[in-house]
Symmetry: C2
Subunit: 167 residues, 2 copies
Amino acid sequence: MSTPIQYDPIGVIRTPFDDPERMPIQPAGESAATGTVDLNDEYEAGLADLEGFSHCILLYHLHAGDGGYSLTPTSFLDETPQGLFATPTPSRPNPLGLAVVAIESVEASELTVSGIDIVDWTPVLDIKPFVGAFDIPDDPVDGWVEGAQADVETAAADDRFVESSSE
Amino acid sequence: MSTPIQYDPIGVIRTPFDDPERMPIQPAGESAATGTVDLNDEYEAGLADLEGFSHCILLYHLHAGDGGYSLTPTSFLDETPQGLFATPTPSRPNPLGLAVVAIESVEASELTVSGIDIVDWTPVLDIKPFVGAFDIPDDPVDGWVEGAQADVETAAADDRFVESSSE
């Protein structure tokens, strides 16, 4: 049950954010930032039909961290420590990132998206269509984030990559 | 940019579905099936505060496939081939699975969830809180799935693991 799993990136995500500490942290679709997912040429045919969707899910490797993490990090939205799996901190046992972004266009092996808050040169592992019926639950309750949400729109990621200390 | 990435499972997902071909395929939260995410004991502290959320996102390794995939698979919802990245097929270059599930309870290192359509003994890689503001876009458009959606509630996964032929 603990055999290591190996993935090969299928491409790279290019964005305007070359400094992890200056990235905007914003609700889905509210960022104006545009980026491109440059897939390796061999995967071009797999992008067919994606333009029919308004949004997709990017799964990527959070490569900017140092591999350390805390099981009770203090989030950038709040001053109270939270359980790691109740936070979106990028410092995790497996640094997998997930983002819902808007699809702008597809040209050859290049997917242009907006509403992105990902560091430049991030390795991408998978792209999935965002399907409302599968991905939106009824009446979600957002836990501790609800109280902290007023700060989301102006927050920058200052501490997100700094708080790591492997426990 | 193509350095392989290695992840170690943080636990295993136990569900009633031991046969990948008989799994229900259902919209988020509509399945009554309950399962447990059994985390390795070392991660127990990371589950704190997760019960404040109604839903979480499970990221897992789709271990039941044979590693093959088609870039233009024919989905279980439709008879028309679609670009791989516009489908949720489990046969992918990196077989990463994603599910939004309802949180029922947390006890020690065991997270009980419902609305699950995952194969028993699936290795879990990460758990994230589902946060509406981050994870729900405005007015999503579901592409080719919208026309096929009438079939979702009764569909079983028959072909999802069979259609693989590495291209």
